[in-house]
Amino acid sequence: MKILIIEDEEDLLDSMSAYLSAEGYLCEHARDFHAAMDKIHDYGYSCIVLDLMLPGGDGIRILERLRELGRADGVIIISARNSIDDKIEGLKIGADDYLTKPFHLSELAARVYAIIRRKNFENNNVVSHNEIQIDLIAKRVTVNGRDAGLTKREFDLLLYFVGNTGRVIPKSAIAEHLSGDMADMLDSHDFIYSHVKNMKRKLLELGSGNYLKTIYGSGYRWEK
């Protein structure tokens, strides 16, 4: 699966590319507006990670161009502009998701994962992980065909873990994923523990394998 990362900040581009490559994606880069335009004209991508503020032009134009070309590439906007208007405009023009800088790489990976799975399996938005089936549209999880009855938050968590299979996910990233902006408002990240525990219990009860490992007492890793 090919991913285009459009980002002018070298360090950021490097990290995102390295993280996503390790997930098994093929990453291509564009460091400015024109390079990005050339790339999208020449190739199709499973997902495009798009920074809005680029040398040479507004990232929104790239999004508009994609839609003019009638392309269905998944697009995640990553922007330093934390403006609701930008977000609404971006999503209206056809971005699939919007991530405000700074973000955790695991968050980006989870979103890329979800977008690609939603886009690629047009009539069958179900992701399988061994005996676990995740229906991305109905937001339902079954284990061996039986509904695990996950809450919305637990569903999000599972998708987050599966989207970062094999990677060490720090607790701080999960806390931010769960509570959005509120994670740092609390002194401890302990509140995520019970969410994770509940999700894990529901899956195990239906006979799924124990894929979620605790790392160093506080981080997590979802294993194959």
């Binding site: 950021l12 990290s15 973000f103 720090p170 701080s172 509140f191």
Partner: protein, 442 residues
């Protein structure tokens, strides 16, 4: 508090009453003196005329004694007496006497008389002519003067009050205009007030001084806002780089437990820096009115979701959570701003509540109240300021409440903080035009 013009008014009235009171004896003394002088003159004229007339009367025709007796009978205000013949003529005497009426039943009070005694020679013998004229009694004069003075005092006082009211309406109108506009002035709206022109020098000076002050404030505020905005924008990218680099560090194999925990504590600190930066940007965005889109929000539902997220945290710290939520309460507002306010207040309560304490959350038709246990009152003066250190033992990003305050002010929500019986309480009265009971709920 009394109005400015009422202060001199009171003084004026007191001064007028003192002057008028003091004038009563003065008037009395003047009137009485004039009276007596006039009566002395009058008595003189009578005496002179009487003596002159008598001197022209032929004593051979009339017996002097019988003439004088007759005189004394018919002249009520003059009397003739024969004097001892010792060769000396006494000088004129003038004095005041009080005596009753001839008819004792006629009057209870004694009348005051001004008397002139004059000796004269008639037919070679000395006589004394005593002329008496009735004078107004002292108490009557005093009473009349007092009544008149009182009347004038009344007229003056009423006049002062009426004039004062009229003057205060007219003269102070431009001042009141200025005051009203000043009250409505908000530096973050970036619009200086324009004052009504006045023909009074002091007001004009005040207005132009205020205009200069406001313009300068707006300018300072604008530059400060721009600085904050630019600074936080510029910080976004380096923060993003640090976060992603830390993320990469965690993936490098093999990683020790120590390394993992180092990265996590860096992540935690970073999250705080990110939050401060986001809040600063958010403050700037709110000031730029970037959250103008509004919708009907079910407050109970929103608050319930936020509480849900923190429920475990309440449990972990054994904090009792009491909620009374009106599920039908709605508000027409910006969803993001509303949840930002509630989130900040709830996390604030949670942060400052000690373990085994209590947090109460109440939502009514247009009222949200949140209380938490606490030991001492927060510094009210600095409560809603950015980076205010409210509690030295418990530092925070210091923007949360400033953000809450900004959002509340922008939406005309009235937020108050009180501390009583060991509970910190924040209360928001929502604008009653935009909140209330959902029409569907009735």
């Amino acid at each position: 508090m009394s109005r400015l013009l009422n202060k001199p008014l009171r003084t004026f009235i007191i001064y007028a009453s003192v002057v008028l009171l003091a004038s009563i004896p003065v008037y009395f003394y003047a009137v009485d003196t004039i009276w007596l002088q006039e009566l002395d003159e009058n008595n003189d004229i009578i005496a002179e005329r009487a003596v002159y007339q008598l001197s022209r009367t032929d004593f051979r025709v009339h017996n002097a004694d019988s003439l004088f007796t007759f005189w004394n009978i018919i002249q009520p205000n003059a009397r003739l007496e024969r004097l001892e013949e010792n060769g000396k003529m006494p000088a004129d005497k003038r004095y005041t006497i009080y005596k009753g009426h001839v008819n004792p039943d006629y009057k209870r009070f004694k009348d005051r008389f001004r008397v002139l005694e004059r000796a004269f020679m008639y037919d070679g013998r000395p006589y004394l002519l005593v002329v008496e004229s009735n004078v107004e009694e002292t108490y009557e004069t005093v009473a009349v003067i007092a009544v008149i003075t009182g009347l004038f005092f009344l007229v003056l006082s009423v006049g002062f009050v009426v004039l004062n009211r009229k003057m205060s309406e007219r003269i102070w109108k431009p001042f009141r205009d200025t005051l009203d506009k000043l009250k409505g002035f908000r530096v973050d709206e970036g619009q200086a007030a324009t004052f009504t022109r006045s023909d009074i020098l002091e007001f004009e000076e005040l207005n132009s001084a205020l205009e200069r002050l406001m313009a300068r404030n707006i300018e300072v505020f604008r530059t400060q806002k721009e600085f904050t905005e630019n600074a936080s924008h510029e910080l976004q990218t380096p923060l993003a780089i640090i976060q992603t680099r830390l993320g990469m560090l965690l993936q490098s194999e093999p990683i020790s437990s120590d390394q993992y925990h180092l990265v996590e504590s860096a992540n935690k600190a970073l999250a705080r820096a990110v939050r401060i930066n986001k809040d600063l940007l958010l403050l700037a965005s709110i000031a730029n009115d970037q959250f103008s889109s509004k919708e009907e929000i079910n407050m109970g539902e929103q608050i319930g979701e936020i509480i849900d997220l923190f429920r475990q945290e309440f449990g972990r710290r054994s904090i009792r959570l009491n909620t009374t939520i009106d599920e039908t309460a709605v508000i027409f507002s910006n969803q993001f701003l509303f949840t930002t306010v509630i989130q900040n207040l709830i996390t604030n309560a949670l942060r400052y509540c000690y373990s085994d304490g209590q947090v109460d959350i109440f939502l009514g038709e247009n009222r949200f109240v949140i209380s938490n246990s606490g030991s001492r009152e927060l510094n009210k003066a600095r409560l809603f300021q950015r980076f205010a250190v409210l509690d030295e033992d418990n530092p925070s990003t210091g923007i949360g409440l400033a953000l809450v305050d900004t959002i509340c002010r922008q939406n005309n929500w009235d937020i108050t903080y009180t501390f009583g019986s060991g509970m910190h309480t924040f209360e928001i009265m929502f604008d009653r035009f935009t909140s209330g009971i959902s029409p569907g709920a009735v």
